[in-house]
Amino acid sequence: MTAPLLDVEDLTVRYRGSRRVPVTPAVNEVDLAIGRGETVGLVGESGSGKTSLGFALLGLAPVVHGTVRFDGEDVTAAPSPVRRRLSRRMQVIFQDPFGSMNPTRTVGDTIGEGLRYGAGVAPGPAKQRVAEVLAEVGLPESAAERYPAHFSGGQRQRIAIARAIAVDPDFIVCDEAVSALDLSVQAQVLNLLARLKAARGLSYLFISHDLSVVRYLSDRIVVMYAGRVVEQGPAEVISTAPVHPYTRALVAAAPVPDPQAQASNRAARQALAVRQRGAPAVGCAFAGRCPLATDVCRTERPLLRTREDGHQVACHHQDG
């Protein structure tokens, strides 16, 4: 295998807290590699650091430690001229289809912005390109003249995708890109993302709290808990035979559209349930919620251990 497109090593992100209360890192010593044309899914609950990790790749979150390499180049603390150049290759699609677009700018203006001001394309060709990407995401050319308020959530997410692919990037961070959409629209957008990936050889970091969405789109899944990676591996393995107790809890908690299957899921989940305690200061962050936790979990932090086929788990009790 050639060098990965994106290579994150030992990354720690910490936001500034107040003087008296030091903050625990949002992302803590995370390693992550994404190959060319690969889609990596990143799951975890709110506060697990998955969005911060995505932001750190884009230079939008404060990295205090570690490196981010994109195509072999260290871009961890890239100065803005380098970022501007990078932005032609790395793009982002945000969750909120309403907040991620300036309401005072037309859709064409929003999509063309990265081309005009980031990549320095002349107005004429930029306009041409906007029309092309609008067609590619399934919107009429006339959409360029209208304002974001005139579009539904699903259409806006298509616009956000059009903005991301306008500069013809290699890599897109999708931060909960379909979470705000209704089921039927979500399916349309997922199909669009899958089609674009196949057509352009794109790599995605697909961040979502919804395991079923991540499973559908990803080659590999990374599970984060309290800022750390607790399990990663091939998508099918993680979603059908997870090992880490947190991943198992996550899979068991995701409701399935079948009352009978859901009832057996529920029984399995309730057997796993424990009374919640606070996380220990040292050791495994999940120990307070873990049904398997023993003394060693509260004193020693488990490290990621490779099982097979790139399946890694950070748990003291992964073998029994």
Binding site: R84, G114, H150, P255, R266
Partner: protein, 631 residues
């Protein structure tokens, strides 16, 4: 933007007035009947006359002429000070708010410093140094006022800086100044316009004040005219009328123009395009659909023919039509559908909680044998006491000023009238009932100290405080993490096991399958299918249900496209004649568009209903691949 302004007659009138005065002042030498210092000693301090339309002042100087000439001085002063005000204030505020850090602190300290300086005294000093120099005074005024604008601009910018689209622009590789120019400045326009109109008014008044104090220029200005009038108030009160009227109306017009321009700027991008197809929607409303059967006497809640309309551009547009729904005691019924299908509106209308002018225009809601529609007193007895409500956003639905315990205690007292202390005890009991660890501690906490899951438990405790027999839960777990969602669903199931009926509004088939026995699928304001949840998810009898189930990624096979339903839910004003799903339906035929489709019983499926003419075609279609689902 000009075309937007056209719809604001008051703003237009004010703008015309300002333009008239400005033009009149500019062309004062052409328009004025006399020179500004021409004296007519035969008519001193006179009222209006044929020679002097607005009368004369001391030395018989013509008031009209002096007002026209005076406007030049006053208005130039206002323009100069406004330009300085905007240039300095917006720049400082923008830079401080956008970059933050030491720049921000420097600007704030500067603003504090300038705030402490008494404006009028500084102006008097400036005029003492540059006697009669209006420009110097007005530049000073602009400079002194600018930090005030900078503070306002700074705080708006700070807020805007957190907007996702600013991050998106950063991720697109835009330079900071490009982001400020393209994304921050346009959003500041409204704020700045309002501040400017306020400042313009203040500048006119201050200029007048300086003239009044006699330290302004020695030529005619609006201020010196008012000063002259006030000195001769005893002999000729009329003198104050023209100048006073002019200053007051000018200031007023500035304010009106400011408001109108601000609104017009905002409307340019806020307005959704007008939908001109209301006529057809009205036809839908009047079309007689299936005659509603009588309410079910055995049911706890029996809704028949429920039609809810909201006012849109002055006309009432129905958003929910002809909904029938029965809930038995202790039964859990789920209403499923996408946003805009009317499921929340249906749930809200049962409790009479519709907002935005929505109202029930037809149908009946019978709860425990009594009609709730058109019976506000009965409704207020039922709300909370017999039917509890659980909202989608647990934290926002709690009042941030009161502790969790006191909010629940308030509900307890409302329903039982017990003492404060007893109510608080009951609140802690309820918190324990919803499985919150350390309920006494949680009771003392404020909403912002609760996690989403805890807040939703508190919300449920408040909902059951009145000891209701039914709960209506509107997407109660949508905002929560899956593990927390599972716990909240467990709690609701426990409550149901204790005899509570539940109406669950959800878009998630998994959540429906977890909690509900019966499902009601809504599409475009109608019930399209009704069945037991198990039968529904395995063998849907409406193409929309089948499509929605199919587009669930849980069923998806990786690498194969998801079977998505193309298109979007039509807006109420765009509902077609006949089946409302026909435009997106793979089974649609000509007869689907002929007339309203009734909710009917499919062959041999006793307890089910479908609003589809061709449901039998679904039966031959492959059923959902449930093997993938059950692990």
């Amino acid at each position: 933007m000009i075309s937007r302004l056209r719809h604001k007659p008051l703003g237009i009138a004010a703008l015309c007035y300002l333009a008239l005065i400005t033009l009149a002042s500019i062309f004062a030498p052409l328009l004025a009947p006399y020179g500004q210092d021409d004296q007519d000693l035969t008519h001193t301090l006179s009222g209006p006359s044929a020679h002097h339309w607005l009368g004369t002042g001391v030395l018989g100087r013509d008031i009209l002429s002096r007002l026209l000439y005076g406007g030049r001085v006053t208005l130039i002063g206002v323009v100069i000070s406004s330009a300085i005000y905007i240039a300095v204030g917006v720049t400082l505020g923008l830079v401080a708010g956008y970059f933050g850090g030491w720049i921000d602190r420097l600007v704030l300290r500067l603003a504090d410093l300038v705030y402490a300086v008494p404006v009028i005294i500084v102006l008097l000093v400036v005029l003492a140094i540059f006697p009669g120099d209006e420009t110097a005074a007005m530049v000073t005024l602009g400079l002194l006022a600018a930090p005030g604008l900078a503070r306002v601009v700074r705080s708006v910018t700070k807020g805007l800086r957190e907007e996702l689209y600013i991050r998106a622009a950063q991720a697109s590789g835009l330079r900071s100044w490009t982001i400020m120019r393209r994304h921050v400045l346009p959003r500041l326009a409204g704020t700045v316009i309002v501040q400017l109109s306020l400042f313009g008014a203040a500048a006119v008044l201050l200029e007048t004040g300086l003239g009044f104090l006699g330290v302004g220029v020695q030529r005619a200005t609006w201020g010196s005219l008012i000063s002259e009038a006030s000195q001769n108030l005893g002999t000729q009160p009329w003198l104050l009328v023209p100048s006073g009227f002019l200053v007051i109306t000018f200031v007023l017009a500035l304010g009106l123009v400011g408001d109108a321009v601000r609104d017009a700027v905002a409307e340019r991008y806020d307005d959704a395009p007008a939908r001109p197809r209301r006529r057809r929607a009205a036809a839908v409303a009047s079309a007689p659909e299936s005659a509603a059967p009588p309410p079910d006497r055995d049911a706890l809640l029996s809704v028949r023919g429920l039609t809810v309309a909201f006012p849109v551009d002055g006309a009432e547009v129905p958003v929910v039509t002809d909904v029938d729904l029965d809930v038995m005691a202790g039964e859990a019924v789920g209403i499923v559908g996408e946003s805009g299908c009317g499921k929340s509106v249906t749930a809200l209308s049962i409790l009479g909680l519709l907002r935005g002018g929505g109202r029930i225009v037809a149908g009946s809601v019978v709860f425990e044998g009594t009609e709730l529609v058109g019976a506000p007193e009965r409704l207020s007895q039922v709300r909370g006491a017999r039917i509890g409500w659980i909202s989608q956003d647990p934290i926002a639905s709690l009042d941030p000023c009161f502790s969790a315990g006191s909010q629940i205690a308030e509900v307890v007292r409302r329903h039982t009238g017990c003492s404060r202390r007893a109510a608080m005890r009951r609140a802690v009991e309820l918190l324990e009932l919803v499985r919150l660890p350390e309920p006494a501690q949680v009771a003392k906490r404020f909403p912002h100290q609760l996690s989403g899951g805890m807040a939703q438990r508190v919300g449920i405790a408040a909902a059951i405080a009145g000891d209701p027999v039914m709960l209506i839960a509107d997407e109660p777990t949508t905002a929560l993490d899956v593990t927390v969602q599972a716990e909240i669903l467990d709690l609701l199931r426990e409550l149901q096991a204790g005899g509570m009926a539940i109406i669950l509004v959800t878009h998630d088939w998994g959540v429906l399958s977890d909690l509900c026995e019966r499902g009601v699928v809504m599409y475009a304001g109608q019930v399209v299918e009704q069945a037991g949840v198990a039968e529904m998810v395995h063998a849907p009898r409406h193409p929309y249900t089948a499509g929605l189930l199919g587009s669930n990624p849980v069923h998806a096979v990786r690498g194969r496209p998801l079977p998505a339903i193309e298109g979007v839910v039509p807006a109420p004003s765009d509902w077609p004649v006949g089946c409302r799903f026909q435009a997106r339906c793979a089974y649609a035929q000509e007869d689907c568009g002929l007339g309203p489709v009734a909710l009917a019983e499919p062959d041999g499926a006793g307890d089910r209903r479908t609003r589809c003419l061709h449901y039998d075609q679904l039966r031959s279609a492959p059923a959902n691949d449930t093997e993938l689902v059950s692990r």
